[in-house]
């Protein structure tokens, strides 16, 4: 028993807009526990739309469409659905009256084209649209196959879903139980390495465990299905515990956590403050911290020491150290961290200096080499890391910021 999503609109095929509707509906179906195996996008083309509708009728029990319900000539959804299943269109006079009243209330003229929106295939029920002009439909053109149509405007679609469609779908009995899901987040391990450690769990069917790679970060999603939310949570918990036991400190958080929010929370608990000194990241580490709401009780700020002169004058890095070790070195990273800690009075400080490329690399200090220092109440340490040149400048910058946060996370755990 499965559902499919069909999004209709040439603007999607031209790449003018991102298909946020598909994601939103997918999330809703998952939360309702309705299996959903396929999405499609077609343009405002009658033949292709009919072909897609007829093919979907062979595969799924519920088809959810978005788009093509407006009054303009390229809005073809209702007509194509009627044609695909050989039903005549019939007018719903009360819908036409409501459309006229709604447009009048907004002071809009009522074009003849609006009247098309009052027609639905014979036998179709209204799917009311509380915030827009035209309703959708709930129609079962063949036994075991029902279509729900929504407009493409996200706010109207969501309002219709929440007001009517969600409870209708729940009542169908299509949902096979309830889903519970948790995302665990890791830093410092490759996706393939993590997957290998979890090989047995990745094979399991309930809960399922699936890995995802991000920018430096790797994630595992655990999803359990059961008759009730409590039972689903009971299935999920031991798998989560097992994954955490196998990965230890590699797992830095869950669900909406990111490294910055986790580190800020660690520091907040201890009443500690943080400052940053950034060379090759140019402010990216600070920006990651400042992106977290409420960062200001922990994060004081710092210095973007992109030029060596700024390293000297604002952070007190000795000129001779820059000359003898080079700006990309453990000793300069340490001097930057110690310098910004002193300048801001922060309890902890992070410093980053590296070669982000694409130029500026040497055999000894290649593009992707980054030195990261952590300074705290008990001293300062620095270590180099090589991110490689192949993924480019912004990748190196993003990973440098993540790695710096992760080092502080680990230091704070000790």
């Amino acid at each position: 028993m499965t559902a499919e999503i069909l999004c209709i609109g040439t603007e999607l095929l031209l790449g003018n807009i991102t298909n946020g509707n598909a994601r939103w509906i997918a999330e809703q179906l998952a939360a309702l526990g309705i299996a959903h195996h396929r999405q499609a996008v077609v343009g405002d083309n009658r033949e292709r739309l009919i072909a897609e509708l007829q093919a979907a009728a062979q595969r799924c029990q519920v088809l959810i469409t978005t788009g093509g319900l407006g009054p303009t000539p390229d809005d073809l959804t209702t007509e194509a659905i009627a044609a695909a299943f050989g039903a005549p269109l019939v007018e719903h006079p009360q819908v036409w009256a409501e459309i006229q009243a709604r447009l009048a209330a907004r002071g809009r003229p009522c074009a003849a084209s609006n009247r098309r929106q009052a027609f639905l295939p014979e036998g179709a029920a209204l799917l009311p649209n509380p915030t827009g002009t035209a309703p959708g439909m709930i129609w079962t053109p063949r036994p075991g196959f029902t279509i729900l149509t929504f407009p493409g405007v996200p706010s109207e679609m969501r309002a219709m879903w929440q007001a009517t469609a969600a409870s209708w779908l729940q009542a169908t009995g299509l949902a096979e139980g309830v889903f519970a899901s948790r995302m665990l987040r890791f830093w410092g391990i490759a996706e393939s390495d993590l997957a290998e450690r979890m090989a047995d769990l990745l094979e399991a069917s309930n809960p399922t465990v699936a890995p995802y790679a991000g920018s430096g970060e790797v994630k595992l999603r655990i999803t359990a299905r059961a008759a009730t939310a409590a039972e689903a949570e009971q299935l999920l918990a031991p798998v989560e515990q097992e994954i955490r036991a196998r990965t230890g400190r590699l797992c830095f958080g869950e669900n909406e956590d990111d490294l910055a929010s986790v580190v800020l929370q660690q520091l907040r608990r201890g009443g500690h403050t943080l400052a940053v000194a950034e060379s090759c990241t140019g402010g990216g580490l600070g920006a990651a911290l400042a992106a977290v709401p409420g960062a200001s009780d922990v994060f004081l700020g710092g210095v973007i020491a992109y030029a060596n002169r700024v390293k000297q004058e604002l952070l007190g890095v000795p000129a001779e150290q820059l000359a003898s070790h080079g700006a990309v070195s453990d000793s300069v990273a340490q001097a930057m961290a110690v310098g910004v800690r002193r300048a801001t009075g922060a309890d902890w400080a992070l410093a980053i200096t590296g070669v982000a490329g694409p130029s500026g690399g040497t055999a000894e200090k290649p593009v992707g080499l980054v030195h990261i220092a952590v300074a705290g109440p008990d001293g300062c340490c620095s270590e180099g890391v090589r991110f490689g040149a192949s993924r480019g400048r912004c990748w190196i910058q993003a990973l440098s910021a993540g790695e710096a946060l992760n080092r502080l996370r680990l230091a704070l755990l000790d």
Copy 2:
């Protein structure tokens, strides 16, 4: 002659992520002039994937897939493609050698599962992945039907597209004629406002003009089709000129330009340097500048003055000014800009101080209010701007950085 897009990944069906890849590829296909009538999404399921591949082979000439190329067991794309068209998988030893070398260079262990990524269907050509571990393929399993596979990681997919796939697709002759395309970029105007000013041009069929909204930025893509590139360019040029005439300084750049790269180029021409002082953006403005390769000849760095104490101690903002005007004010923004200009010796300085929210807003200084100062050789000025609270903290931070860069761009034009 048409292309289809098939995005593979259970995370898309669960609604975990938005399908940004489909939009990006759709935009690229439109720019190449390749007709594209259909997109589909399936999960990591071998049977459904095979069915989708075989159905696509009946409909289109080029199928572009994303996702499922990783090393984990749920990465099924390559294997399913081989099975769908009855070809054996063969190992490419040089790919395996490259995967091993790449992982070694990053200091990562090479898992046995990585070796799967070196297998492609017999007869398939490599689609090189310059920034990731596994390549994709370009394979014609049946006459007149070619598959191009890409990983789901957007940065890798885009790099592969730009390095290899775009020119391959251009060479196929799938495009009807030759397309010339230009993206014009605007700051300081709403998409609807820009579209209204261009209403007549948006109706035209060759060149077409299409608006796109970004984060603060708005874009217009002009696309002309003709028998030769020179003719297409001849069609395009007068439309570009007309748009530029109608928009003046609102147009800040074209194609791959961004505000940071444009401003850095303006400063570079004059031999000038730049520093930043950031409060509510926390380093985001500096990071935007540092993201541009070669920024270091212009961008010196600056101060992340998130806490008021840092504004006082590193930027010399008087405590009484903070007390009487508040940190979010023109006078503090100016003091920050002047302070960082003095501290770094830069010719120009930008300062940002605002309420990024979600908390901290007041009736007088609501969330979304940001003061931005520009200091240069001839003095300093500051002005407040209201971005509103509705789109959230990161939106306010991103728009603040963009607005600051745009103000400097306009100041440098004078």
